[in-house]
Structure formats: C-alpha cells, structure tokens
C-alpha cells in the first residue's frame, strides 16, 4: 500500500530530523506494522459492518439503509469525510457514531442507553457499532477529509475543541497538546503523533477507525479519546459526549486534506 509506505518514510524522516527520537521508532517495528497493514484484520470488521448495515434489526426490524449521514438517506460514499457536521433534524453537530446512534434509535427502535453500553466491544462480546463505524468510514476511502465549518454550531464546537485541546486540566495538569505537541514524544515504545504538524495530524485522522493489535479489536476515535482521558487521569469521558465531538471536530478539521484510508492498523 503506497500510503503506508509513505507513512513509514515520513516517520523515518522525522527520526532523521530529530536525533533524540531516533531510538523510539526502530525499523523492526515499522516492518511489523507494514506487514499488519497489508493484511489488516480490521477488514473483517468492515465486512461484518456491511452485513449488519443491511440487516433488518432492532424492535422495528429495519435496516440502516435509510440513514442519512449528511449526503442523503443511504448515501455513504464520502459521508465520513465531512463528519462531524451539523444535522438539522437533531439540531446538533454529530460525529459518525452519534449519527449512527440517532439512526439506530429512530429507524430501528434501539434505546440509546443500551447502545452506549455495548458500543465498545470487549473480548467477550463484539460490538456492532465498531463494525458499522468501520464499514461506513471505509466507504470514504481514497477521498480527502473535508470538514466544513459553515454552520455556526459547527464553528462553535470546533472552537470548543480547539480550546480543550490546549487547555491543561486534571490532577496531572495535562492537555492533549502536552503529549501531542512535539516530535518524538512517546508512551513507552508507542510514538505519539505531533498534532501541531499538519502532516502527522493528517496521518492520524485518516487512519481511524483502526484495528489495534493489543485490543484484538477494531476501535474508533471515541474509544481513543476515552482512553486519552483515562491516561490523563481525568473523569471518564462519556460515550458521544459533546466534549468528545468537539475534540473530533477540531482534529478532523485540522486534518482536512488527509486521504482517508481506513481501517488503519495500530499497536
């Protein structure tokens, strides 16, 4: 895959430019990651999501084929590239998963509390939400991230996300930017993307949802943010909270122009 190769090349270049970071990204890790990317188990989630999407489910025995992700009912191609966006029917800015929940509640008759409980799968139970998110996001593969801030609420949420990204808080006085504001930062052996660098930011937003080897599962940005909050020792970030959508808005807008290539594959 050319994009993966470009990604590895970019990391190698970053190491050259920053001698301090040379030890954080050994070649063997890069080779392993490339092999994983070629046969990404995340594809299995995409396949499953495709089936779940078309299947009549829930109390109303309806499929999700009438779900509107911003481009019209059932139109998935390119929909993810413009999310989060404002939806007039809910009068809210929604990311992929909150929009999915809206559809699953309205069309299929699920309860949003139940959905939130099972949204993140574990070793005992796989999540439909993660499979659906992977499938829908993958329909925008090869397209460029193109989040608009044309509605006032979109702009407000973006600004809120920007504020949160730089705002230090909690017992450790961490902000997102504490770990994601410089090259060569890492947690143990895991390199952290520097989100002040547009290129690294693009690589990040274009590869979520991603298959995580350590999780044996496909994960979405909602999961990533929740874990970031846990790692910062902040109170639990509730699933689909305004806070999480604000940050997603900020990240995706900053990553505009990134060529979407999901599912990604990560540690």
């Amino acid at each position: 895959m050319p994009t993966t190769r470009a990604g590895i090349a970019a990391i190698a270049l970053a190491c050259l430019a920053w001698p301090g970071a040379a030890y954080t990204q050994s070649d063997s890790l890069g080779v392993g990651r490339k092999m994983l990317a070629e046969d990404n188990p995340g594809e299995l989630w995409v396949e499953r999501g495709k089936r779940v999407f078309a299947e009549p489910r829930g109390p109303k025995r309806a499929s999700l084929e009438q779900c509107d992700f911003g481009l019209g009912p059932g139109k998935l191609e390119g929909a993810y590239a413009a999310l989060p966006r404002y939806f007039s029917d809910t009068d809210k800015v929604q990311d992929l998963e909150s929009r999915l929940v809206t559809c699953m509640v309205n069309l299929q008759g699920f309860k949003s509390e139940d959905l939130a409980k099972t949204a993140m799968g574990n070793l005992d139970q796989m999540s439909d939400m993660e499979a659906l998110a992977a499938y829908i996001a993958s329909r925008s593969n090869g397209m460029k991230m193109n989040v608009r801030l044309s509605h006032q609420k979109e702009y407000d949420l973006y600004k809120a996300g920007e504020y949160i990204f730089f705002r230090r808080n909690g017992p450790t006085d961490f902000a997102c930017v504490t770990c994601h504001g410089d090259n060569g930062k890492r947690i143990r052996l895991q390199d952290l993307p520097n989100m002040m660098d547009p290129k690294q930011m693009q690589e990040t937003v274009s590869t979520w949802p991603a298959y995580l080897g350590t999780q044996s599962n496909l994960r979405t940005m909602q999961w990533r943010l929740k874990i970031c909050y846990w790692q910062m020792r902040l109170p639990d970030l509730p699933y689909l909270s305004d806070l999480s959508i604000a940050i997603t808005s900020y990240l995706n807008y900053q990553g505009n122009g990134a060529v979407i290539q999901v599912p990604g594959v990560k540690r």
Binding site: E38, D39, E47, L123, D124, S216
Partner: protein, 106 residues
Amino acid sequence: MAEPMKIRATLQGDVADVRILMMHPMETGQRKDAKREVVPLHFIQSVVVTHNGKTVLDTQWSQAVSRNPFLGLRIKGAKAGDKIGVTWIDNKGDKRTDEATVAPAS
C-alpha cells in the same frame, strides 16, 4: 455464527501467494471473564486449504494461535483463476468454508 474469512490470492510467477484472515475468538481456556469465571477453550482445531479441490495444506491448530488468526502460504504451480478453498473447524464443531480465485499478478 462463524464470520466469513477474507482470502487474498495473487499470482507471483507460478506461485500463488495466499493470505487468509479469519475471525475467531481463539479462547485459550486461561482467561476469566468479567464475572471471574473461566472462559472455556474455544479454538480452531483444523484448517484445510485446497487448490482446485486438491488439499495442499492440512493443519491442526491449538489454542496457542492468536485471536483473529492470519495464515499465509504459497502454492506452487498455480494459475490465475484457480480456486483456493479454505475450511476451518473449531473444537465446538463450528465450521466455515470460503473460496477465492487466484488473481493475476498486478
């Protein structure tokens, strides 16, 4: 409720490079669930790969193989359009068969 496999077969010279992704929990019998109860063994026991109906690989697996396993093999003497069949059976008797055709070298 076996999930479909993802099989990719591409020709490289006269060798077919076959890559198979399977979705399976592959429980080791060691893990405990949220209720602190041991999750029983559940793993793929046998994998058979066929090339135009002829068995080219017949394996017995154990619980040591990872969750959502990946299997790669190379089949000599393959041609574009050949059929590659894969069947796995797990220790609970659940099974899954999928087929793919060998794609010409790109």
